[in-house]
């Protein structure tokens, strides 16, 4: 197995507040790794540092051995990282297939071409991607009229367009109905299996996490407190404390009161 993503001592502080504290982990090829933790644990900050939206205060990020700390999101994307957003970000004036075509146009470095007709370019490839996520029959629909679950699937197709080695998914099932959640994560798991792509995702729904993640990391107050498979995490006393209110969360509230 080879390491796809690695962080070493990743830290982010905002003034006096340490949002992410010395986080180090490795993600293997073909692995579906979940990053969980209560609200405010530092998951999003962590994600934003991985994707280049936030510069870390300390520590480094390595993608397949290459240091990518401080690169811009678009440079990180070019190195083979795809991502989906917690709140979907789509091109609302385009059709579903055009949304996917945009990613392909960018991947093939065709953005600064002025002569060809964009809607004909990489159309078949885009349809093939949409097929993978089960959206092919909706390809020509205006994406502004899609149901939320369909938007999420379209976003997944976009994220897969440049055949990434790594997929970062920030709360992929947020805002979805329980049935849709399971379907989307099953789809993701199948793609991981099929293409040997690695996935790091954050998630609030524990059913989704325990059902699909190969490995789980738990973040609390910026620091990694546990790591392991579903069974290990479920039985970890520290995690139970954090999630079931054994102490820390309530203690925190007490100090605020």
């Amino acid at each position: 197995m080879s390491v796809v993503l690695e962080t070493k001592g990743l830290t982010k502080s905002f003034g006096g507040l340490v949002a992410v504290d010395d986080v180090s982990f490795q993600l293997q090829k073909g692995e579906l790794l979940a990053l969980i933790g209560p609200n405010g644990a530092g998951k999003s900050t962590c994600f934003n540092m991985l994707m280049g939206q936030l510069p870390p205060t300390a520590g480094d990020v390595y993608l397949m051995g290459e240091q990518i700390t401080g690169l811009k999101p678009r440079q990180i994307w070019r190195k083979g990282v795809g991502r989906t957003f917690q709140i979907t970000a789509t091109y609302s004036s385009m059709t579903v297939v055009e949304n996917v075509q945009m990613a392909l146009l960018s991947h093939h470095k065709d953005i600064f071409r002025y002569a060809p007709r964009a809607h004909k370019m990489y159309h078949a490839e885009a349809i093939a991607l949409l097929e993978k996520v089960g959206m092919a029959e909706q390809a020509e629909r205006h994406c502004a009229v899609l149901a939320y679950g369909d938007l999420k699937r379209m976003e997944l197709a976009i994220a897969l367009a440049h055949d990434p080695a790594l997929l970062l998914m920030d709360e992929p099932t947020a805002g979805m109905a329980p049935k849709e959640r399971v379907a989307l994560m099953q789809l993701t798991a199948d793609i991981v299996e099929d293409q040997q792509v690695s996935v790091l995702f954050t998630e609030h729904d524990m059913d989704v996490v325990f059902a699909h993640a190969h490995r789980i990391m738990v973040l609390n107050r910026g620091a990694l407190i546990a790591e392991g498979d579903a069974g290990e995490i479920r039985n970890n006393p520290l995690v139970q404390e954090v999630y079931l209110g054994g102490g820390t969360l309530f203690a925190e509230e007490d100090t605020h009161a």
């Binding site: 970000a89 609302s92 945009m102 964009a118």
Partner: protein, 619 residues
């Protein structure tokens, strides 16, 4: 030293009415998000109404009473405007309302002309305040001192209203989050009306208050507009202390400018604004705006498609009909068609930026007028041939656009728009005040095309080639990967950046390209008229293009050209009548209310409804 103090005092006195007007604009924008272009007109009305009241009401009480009554009267006019014109269009895409306020400007201009006549009115002196005070030996008009003393109290009163009263709480809450205020059960409709009335009253007050200093004339509306916008932007949209401070900075600077650098007065204000925005992108006391508020608002745009074969046929027929115009049309109709085509190209170049890019430029005349001046300067000073000048003009305009775009693209939303306006004004003031080179107000004349082109029909075909060619190129690029990337950057910058698209580069190139095409239109213009004057760079010219793009339909590919053709045609017909502005203004307001998606957008909706296709399915 004495002189210095006197200068500062004069500056502070001048800041008074500027502050009041700017405050009104800031309040209205903060709560309703409407960029009220008609604010200068309300200021003008305040002056005229105040003047008339002072003729009737005698003495000191009459004088001050008239000023207050003028404020009240303009407040009531504001209520009427808000209820009749703006209420029907609050749901329209953002910035569409500013088109409506532009219609109001035209209507008020002609109504003022009808009621008060074309002569400038000399403001009456304030009773008991005719002379001067000697301060450190320097004479300062008594009225200036009174203004200087009153203004902080007015500012304090407003501050109290905004920070200490229930109305103020609502206003501040609405400035931050309109939806939430609505959700908390506040009647937004009346809050908007109330704020619009208050803002209008302040503008009217400002107009009446400056009567003894400046009187009343028909150019006041546009003349105050630029400084007021500058003040509001420097201070930070929606901030009263900011407006006060900025009004003082601008006024004092202006007084010193007049004394020490008289050539620079017009430029100075905009340079200050550019510097402030470079350092503090949201003004001195402004807050960052919520991103994406201005580009794509309201319903998302339909996906674009290449023209259907039927549409192509119609376009081809239209071009053919135009091509045969010299066979059946008069020489005048060819001149008219030439003007319309040039304007269509100008509007299409702005539409490219505004529609596809979501980049609302308030200063697009910089490239149109800029192109015209590049050509005219080359011919005048370098004796260059028409052909060379014609080729270099768009390139010059495009390079200017790249430079200006590079600076402006650091900002977003209304601040971006204001910065583009500032650069256009900068260019205008340069041309206006650098008479030795640019001819100043007298313009540059004798810029005729080469002999082979110097004939109406030939130039008509020449224009047709370049204008329609330019429009088709713009349209073609809209369908190219670059055009798609431009829309992608508008729809979701975040997604575009995450999928490897350098959105800044895309937008910058689009800016340069729109400038290039605007410059081409300007070059066509200057050789068709044989001369160019600074008004081709004015705010009004930028607005012309802006208005027709909105009226044609921002969210449709054909909107710019259709709007330009339609309104330029009407304007050319109407200007023969005395009160054409009134008719034009009412027409604009009518289109805004009846066709909130623009002409093309609303027609498309109508056709779709006829066919019974559900919305958004993009059949």
């Amino acid at each position: 030293m004495e002189f210095f103090v006197a200068q500062i005092l004069t500056g502070l006195a001048n800041a008074s009415s500027l502050f009041l007007v700017a405050c009104g604009l800031s309040l209205i924008f903060g709560v309703t998000r409407i960029v009220n272009f008609a604010h200068g007109s309300l200021y003008m009305l305040g002056a005229y109404i105040g003047y008339s009241l002072m003729q009737v009401l005698p003495g000191g009480v009459g004088f001050w009473g008239s000023i207050i009554l003028a404020g009240v009267a303009v407040g009531i006019i504001g209520v009427l405007i808000e209820m009749l014109v703006l209420r029907p269009v609050y749901r329209a895409p953002e910035l569409f309302q500013l088109v409506a306020t532009f219609g109001v400007i035209l209507v008020i201009q002609d109504l003022t002309l009808i009621i008060w006549g074309p002569e400038d009115l000399l403001g009456p002196r304030a009773p008991g305040l005719r002379g001067v005070f000697r301060i450190m030996g320097e004479p300062i008009p008594k009225y200036d001192i009174v203004l200087l003393v009153i203004t902080p109290f007015v500012a304090l009163g407003l501050w109290y209203l905004i920070t200490q009263t229930r109305l103020g709480v609502l206003v501040r809450a609405a400035t931050q989050d309109r939806e939430m205020v609505g959700a908390l059960g506040v009647n937004q409709v009346w809050l908007f009306t109330g704020v619009f009335a208050l803002g209008s009253a302040l503008a009217g007050l400002g107009g009446a208050l400056q009567l003894p200093k400046g009187g009343a004339d028909l150019l006041m509306d546009f003349n105050i507009l630029a400084p007021v916008f500058v003040v509001v932007v420097i201070g930070g949209m929606g901030s009263l202390p900011g407006a006060y401070l900025a009004a003082i900075i601008i006024s004092v600077l202006n007084v010193f400018g007049v004394t020490y650098l008289p050539q620079s007065t017009l430029v100075l204000m905009f340079i200050v604004m550019i510097v402030v925005l470079m350092i503090r992108p949201y003004g001195l006391f402004g807050r960052e705006e919520v991103a994406g508020e201005h580009g794509q608002v309201g319903e998302p745009e339909d996906p674009i498609k290449p023209a259907s074969s039927r549409a192509r046929l119609i376009i081809a027929l239209g071009i053919a009909a135009l091509a045969f115009l010299p066979l059946y049309g008069s020489s005048f109709s060819q001149v008219l068609a030439t003007d319309v085509m040039i304007f269509c190209l100008f509007a299409a170049s702005l539409h490219f930026l505004l529609g596809l890019g979501g980049l609302v430029s308030f200063g697009h005349a910089a490239y149109y007028g800029g192109g015209a001046y590049v050509a005219a300067l080359l011919v005048t000073h370098l004796n260059s041939s028409m052909e060379i000048a014609f080729m270099l003009a768009p390139i010059g305009a495009g390079l200017a656009a790249l430079a200006i775009g590079w600076v402006c693209l650091r900002l977003t939303g209304v601040y971006f728009a204001m910065l583009t306006l500032a650069f256009a004004q900068l260019l205008w003031s340069l041309v206006f005040q650098w008479g030795d080179v640019t001819g100043g107000d007298d313009g540059l004349v004798n810029i005729w095309p080469s002999d082979w082109l110097n004939e109406t029909t030939v130039y008509f075909y020449f224009t047709m080639l370049f204008a329609i060619g330019g429009i088709l190129v713009l349209r073609h690029i809209a369908h190219s990967p670059f055009g798609y990337a431009l829309r992608a950057a508008r729809d979701s910058k975040r997604q575009a950046e995450t999928m490897g698209i350098d959105t800044h580069k895309v937008q910058l190139l689009a800016f340069g390209f729109a400038g290039l095409m605007g410059g081409l239109a300007g070059a066509l213009f200057v050789f068709s008229k044989g001369s160019v004057f600074p008004n081709e760079l004015e705010i009004a010219r930028s607005f012309d293009a802006l208005i027709v793009v909105f009226l044609g339909g921002v969210k449709t590919l054909a909107g710019g050209v259709v709007g330009a053709g339609f309104f330029k045609g009407i304007e050319e017909t109407l200007t023969r009548f005395e009160y054409w502005r009134l008719v034009m203004g009412l027409l604009i307001i009518g289109v805004v209310i009846l066709a909130p998606n623009g002409i093309v957008g609303s027609l498309r909706k109508f056709v779709r409804r006829l066919r019974g296709v559900s919305e958004g399915e993009g059949a």
